[in-house]
Symmetry: C2
Amino acid sequence: MKKILIIGAGRSSSALIRYLEENARKFGWEITAGDRDLTLVQEKVAPSTCAIALDIFNEQQLNDEIQNTDIVVSMVPARFHPVIALPCLKYARSMLTASYESQEMSEMAHKAKSQGILFLNELGVDPGIDHMSAMRVINRIREEGNALLCFETFTGGLIAPESDNNPWHYKITWNPRNVVLAGQGGPARFIQEGTYKYIPYHRLFRRTEVIEIEGFGKFEGYANRDSLKYIEKYGLQDVPTVYRGTLRRPGFCRAWDVFVQLGATDDSFTLNNTEDMTYKEFINSFLYYSHEDPVKTKLYQYMHIDQDSDVREKLEWLGIFDNTKIGLKDATPAQILEHLLCKKWALEPGDKDMLVMWHKFIYKQKGQEKPTLLTSSLVVTGDDPVNTAMAKTVGLPLGIAAKMILTGQIRLEGVYIPTIKEIYEPILQELESYGIGFIEKNMEWNGE
Amino acid sequence: MKKILIIGAGRSSSALIRYLEENARKFGWEITAGDRDLTLVQEKVAPSTCAIALDIFNEQQLNDEIQNTDIVVSMVPARFHPVIALPCLKYARSMLTASYESQEMSEMAHKAKSQGILFLNELGVDPGIDHMSAMRVINRIREEGNALLCFETFTGGLIAPESDNNPWHYKITWNPRNVVLAGQGGPARFIQEGTYKYIPYHRLFRRTEVIEIEGFGKFEGYANRDSLKYIEKYGLQDVPTVYRGTLRRPGFCRAWDVFVQLGATDDSFTLNNTEDMTYKEFINSFLYYSHEDPVKTKLYQYMHIDQDSDVREKLEWLGIFDNTKIGLKDATPAQILEHLLCKKWALEPGDKDMLVMWHKFIYKQKGQEKPTLLTSSLVVTGDDPVNTAMAKTVGLPLGIAAKMILTGQIRLEGVYIPTIKEIYEPILQELESYGIGFIEKNMEWNGE
């Protein structure tokens, strides 16, 4: 009887747990799900699953649990994966994550290989399904003998139109800390028409482009981290444009940029006296001093926000000019903003989220004069605030990959991301049976 | 016979060396000056001084030299002081620096005390003379029974009017790396009318204020690092406004902000292909792609720089739109910018620099209704590109402090900055004999 250990029962784990529980019945697996917070796990698992309180910093317990399983799915925040990877290497257990492959994880490739195990990262939605679905198209274009000229890909975790009732057209469907810190940690990098481009964080949310998906309306995209590192991973060394982006509804980025400009997304220092601070005082601490102008007036003047700008409605709706006490001690600006947004952008009962992915490929067919534009889009809607589109698109590929390893369909050893056909093809096929499928459109490219 | 060891013979060491050599003749001291670059030391010392090649990472050599001296003056970059401090602790030798007291240095206080030695930091101009001259006035105001309401202080290392022949009104008179990185490393922090204020780096150069010094014209000041940490050091816990700033000539900051906005001052990552890159391509790597607009047009549009803006003249004068090859391998944006500025903003033969310091105090006298505004200003002009105002104002206080320790005038033990009367009073008095004296002006404060 094969055993699976799931570590972390946060926001995105519900679909993963359900998928593995369904398959456990079929294949006779035994599932253990652990989290620091036992109640959180208990709420999410079926009676057949063993729910445990698991502290990954309890070395003895972590070692025991990993030794006692066949495969590990780590759903903890990305920076903690190496803590779990060490005993996985020790006891030769494969591990799956939905997080970006860190330098630390990459460096374990040799050890993983020599232990005959697989560390498979970036197996969620972004990163994850984006890699798989893009590589499927890229490989097909090339197998047909065409030359790829441009690859752009955008993903957004958004709110479904029927649940969209705030002026930001956004609610929190994943780790709220990452929502606030999005775009930090080095400039966004990509290559466009053969020229390397770099956008610093404080300019990122003003360098957007508009994307329209038939039936779902318009979105705006901003550059997502370092696209350059995927050039090698995807084998795109000869492609002049490679760009990864993040989607929001139009108008979001310009308003969010106000917080970036203020310094209100900074997580590197704690503010003085946050315990007694109101949200209005929080905003005021980033503004010039005046003994006349109210905080709101100062902000609008400082940021050049006109009276008819929709940015005003967004900011005022958040309550940032209220005299409400924040109530956090020794908090960073980012922590205060997260605290506010978790309340304002919370999913309400009945709310459905929406995961949107959009790829753009431009390629030249042999003998044809004009290049072809191919777009490929995916829209997944959640069931409710727990079974979200985000949880499905993160959890299902992880679950399918776990199944494929346990059943011997994947036999790789080392550290990988799912850009390899033998990984992405069966996962994409099974995802389609869950309604997660891409719609492709082909047209002649007009050069714009 | 007492011995002095000077480590580091860079830009600001000339006046220090000369001062100590003069006093060595009088007091019979023996001076050793060491630098990685022996030629650099040899150029700067008199025949009576022993010039040596000294690598601070050669532990044996560093230990030997420190054991063989009575006092150490460290002129190396701030991050290397702890390397020198360790053997100083071991052999119980006092050490002086002109750098900000780092966390690492502060934590040596207990050990220094138990060894009976003194580590005296922030003993140059800014930090240094600013502390000394401000504390002298603050203590006098308080000794007279007055209440201090506001303390602001500004310093700038600039170019003298007679040598000012470029549109930036700026040349490099200190560490060029620090010129490019100025303002980075956490938000600027200060307190204004009782409210804590924080300015992120990407807003710093647009939050300037204008200062006029009689006979020297107008300057603009931007907030300098963390002013809050001096509240305790200066004993200003009851003062509602405490602000430290840096001075430039008007217009500098707005133009410099273009580089900040682009991301061209970033030192955290290396650009691709810098070896073959031109300055125009460097600028273009931060701009949007266009197959029509020239780089210059794109920059002006992106940064909203009007046709009649003096920012254009400043940028074009630097040659950032030229097709000149940069010629640096694997360089960060900051390194490329430094490389360019070192050429364009170099002191020419005959050039004189100018060090400007300006303090503002507002205080209330007992029984008086209206507060008093007291300003205190210092302007020092250099002799030539080697004996700069910067070198004098950094080197002389260091030299005087070294003399005071060797002659037993200072008998402190531990880690200090010169905010203590027994340190600053004799130093300020001797500085006056070198023409480094403050001019005070008193007037009724009109509340603006």
